[in-house]
């Protein structure tokens, strides 16, 4: 296929009526890429203060049929999860990301909640994950893959519960991406998730739960802050 590569590149240069870009232009282009210059950013979320961004995140997520519970601290998370499962008539059983940030949640206060840590298997009905960031502008969760945050948890089970700490809420996708760049090498998958799975493929009628989760429940921890320095996420 190297012949194909050379041909395609040559054809592009022929069409653009030039040869390979010169060294100076190439250096400029590389510098531009490395600068991560932002394009026009909508004011909707960027113009708000942080608590306004949290409110906007919640409102936007609810607009796309996610459900949201706001709890004061990590201590209240198990209670919120158990209450949600009961209200939805779901068994008190879930598969949870082996993420260190979730270890700070006092799960032992709810001994009847059965928890397995690991990736999702086909028979898992409910998953619980942390998130990397939560984007206020469209109520979007940003999740990353990693040894402690397997991607299957986000897609296989019928119900996905995500725990968002207040300090993870950012205004825009770019803000989330900046945090990711600062965090180290890019993970295999970055999932931006906005509401539960849906389709409009039959007569444009929106049906939730096409192939991914039918329900997305978000627990926002109001005074949640990263406890373990640098270990909250892989």
């Amino acid at each position: 296929m190297s012949g194909a590569r050379a041909d395609i590149i040559a054809s592009i240069r022929r069409s653009l009526r030039r040869g390979r870009v010169d060294a100076q232009t190439e250096a400029e282009l590389r510098a531009q890429v490395a600068a991560h210059r932002r394009n026009l950013i909508p004011a909707r979320a960027a113009a708000l203060d942080h608590s306004g961004q949290i409110d906007l995140f919640v409102a936007m997520a609810e607009e796309v049929q996610a459900t949201v519970a706001r709890v004061p601290s990590v201590e209240a998370v198990p209670e919120a999860v158990v209450r949600y499962l009961a209200a939805e008539n779901l068994p008190a059983e879930l598969v949870m990301a082996p993420d260190l940030g979730l270890d700070d949640v006092p799960w032992e206060t709810r001994p009847l909640l059965r928890i397995r840590r690991g990736r999702a298997e086909p028979e898992d009905a409910v998953s619980l994950t942390p998130c990397f960031a939560a984007v206020a502008e469209t109520g979007t969760l940003m999740l990353v893959s990693g040894p402690r945050t397997p991607t299957t948890l986000n897609f296989l089970p019928d119900t996905h519960i995500a725990v968002v700490r207040a300090d993870q809420v950012v205004a825009t996708y770019e803000d989330g991406w900046d945090r990711l760049r600062a965090d180290g090498p890019l993970p295999r998958a970055v999932n931006f998730i906005t509401g539960p799975s849906r389709t409009g493929d039959i007569e444009q009628r929106i049906v939730l739960g096409a192939h991914g989760p039918r329900r997305l429940h978000i627990v926002v921890v109001e005074n949640g802050q990263e406890v373990r320095n640098g270990e909250g996420q892989e």
Binding site: M1, I12, R13, P147, T199, D201, G212
Partner: protein, 477 residues
């Protein structure tokens, strides 16, 4: 896929007579995509400015496409992936087959990919003993019906739910024949239940890409169903099918285009799932594919750069131009006879399969301009349709009667005195012939118009006369 674009007129007539299609199109135009887009645009004050941004990003990338492609490949490789360059659909199909055979697979799951349609991948895989399973609900439905997609993002939008129910009853014979399938909810649940084991069993997953990010060597897919994510997460091998022009320099650029894409397409603020994939599973990861391949297709795009149809390479396949096109709304997507329907298809198809094969498509437009006005990257579609019409004329691809008529008209139109005199005579003649009714029920050479409606007869003076008088009165200032 065999193109029937040459039969646009016959295809369109069939579409107009298809009651189910007309019902489905009415649902779309009266309560679907166009209204949802309008509402989404109204909620984002920066939307118009973002269209400029979108155009700028795409133009910049195209101007340095060779550089960005090389950078992209370098980054894919350093993330542990592989890039397979394909000049032609043939080479792209061969690359996919080779990867599938090396993986020893008999089934592949597929997310929605227009490039897969463009290269006719499903038929090819089947001929080689590999079963492709479409997992997007709309794609799954049309795969069962062995039909091509009729829309870029809603491939089964030409069907009503009763047809989908019939299709499922015919295909899913193992299920209770009298099960209720009247509602989209039931149809969706049935597809979900049947496809889940297929997701889990596949060794290879094939997806398209909405964007390729040069900076990181990532592919970006946008879906609502989550099928694309199951397709690329569960199998051992992930193949991304993409064409050259999907490239953008950075994540920041992708983010700007993503703000345009969902709003323009479905009128959503953001699609349910936007996934950025970079290479295969990392050491320690608990899931994800072991291998990550990108098949990068040219198929004539590199030759389109810098030419009359260059602007078309900005297209992000949102389908806003289809959703707002009066011709598409009347004929549906299959009339266009190949993979890409609507205004974008009428411009792109002749570029990809040749104007000889696609000759009538550039005429399948009233040039009303709605497509250009909603295009998120401001592609001048009507202008390019006119360019194709010029080529069609130059290549003598239109019927002799039209050619002669057009030549005659242009000869007269270049002689203003003669033109005015003749139009004066014609308008008076028609006015006289129409008599007191003031309209014609039928008229020679205009049956196409009068078969469905009356033609109003000219009355009084021409615009030129009125303008001349206005100038004389000095009222034009």
């Amino acid at each position: 896929m065999l193109a029937t674009s040459r039969n646009f007129a016959a295809n369109a007539r069939a579409g107009l007579a298809d009651q189910n299609l007309q019902r489905a199109l009415a649902i779309m135009t009266q309560s679907g995509f166009p209204l949802r887009r309008r509402d989404a645009v109204a909620k984002l004050p920066e939307f118009e400015a973002l269209r400029e941004t979108g155009r700028t990003i795409k133009e910049h990338t195209l101007a340095y496409l060779d550089f960005y492609l090389e950078l992209y490949e370098e980054r894919v490789i350093s993330a542990g992936g592989e890039v397979h360059w394909a000049r032609t659909p043939n080479e792209a199909r061969a690359a996919v087959l080779e990867i599938c055979q090396a993986a020893g697979t008999k089934t592949v799951t597929k997310g929605k990919s227009m490039i897969a349609e463009e290269i006719g991948l499903n038929d090819f895989l089947e001929q080689n003993g590999i079963t492709p399973v479409e997992t997007d609900l709309g794609e799954y439905i049309i795969q069962l019906r062995r039909e091509p997609p009729s829309h870029l993002i809603a491939p089964a939008m030409h069907l009503v739910k009763e047809q989908v129910a019939d299709t499922f009853r015919a295909a899913h014979r193992e299920l209770e024949p009298n099960r209720p399938l009247a509602e989209p909810r039931q149809l969706c649940d049935e597809a979900r239940a049947l496809l889940r084991p297929r997701f889990l069993a596949a060794d290879v997953g094939i997806t398209g890409a909405n964007f390729l990010v040069a900076e990181t060597g990532s592919s970006v897919i946008v879906t609502n169903e989550g099928n694309g994510d199951l397709t690329q997460t569960l199998p051992r091998v992930h193949i991304v099918l993409a064409s050259l022009e999907k490239l953008v320099p950075t994540f920041e650029d992708a983010a700007s285009l993503l703000r345009l894409l969902a709003r323009s397409a479905t009128g959503q603020e953001f699609s349910s799932y936007t996934t950025v994939s970079t290479g295969p599973r990392r050491p320690g990861d608990l899931d994800g594919p072991d291998a990550y391949h990108v098949v990068l297709l040219d198929n004539g795009r590199s030759a389109m750069l810098g030419g009359e149809f260059h602007d078309m390479l900005r297209c992000i396949r949102c389908a806003a131009c289809l959703n707002h096109c009066p011709v598409y709304a009347a004929t549906g997507g299959h009339a266009y006879g190949w993979v890409y329907p609507g205004p974008m298809g009428a411009v792109l198809t002749p570029g990809l399969i040749g104007i000889d094969e696609a000759a009538p498509l550039p005429n399948a437009s009233t040039l009303c301009g709605r497509c250009e006005s909603v295009c998120p990257v401001m592609i001048p579609l009507p202008k390019m349709l006119r360019h194709w019409r010029e080529r069609e004329y130059a290549k003598k691809l239109i019927p002799p009667v039209w050619r002669t008529g057009l030549s005659l008209w242009s000869w007269v139109a270049r002689r203003p005195a003669l033109y005015h005199a003749l139009s004066e005579i014609a308008s008076r003649g028609l006015g006289w012939a129409a008599g007191r009714r003031g309209r014609f029920r039928n008229l020679p050479f205009a049956a196409g118009w009068t078969s469905a409606r009356d033609l109003p007869a000219p009355e009084g003076r021409s615009f030129h006369n009125l303008w001349a008088e206005r100038v004389k009165r000095g009222a034009n200032r």
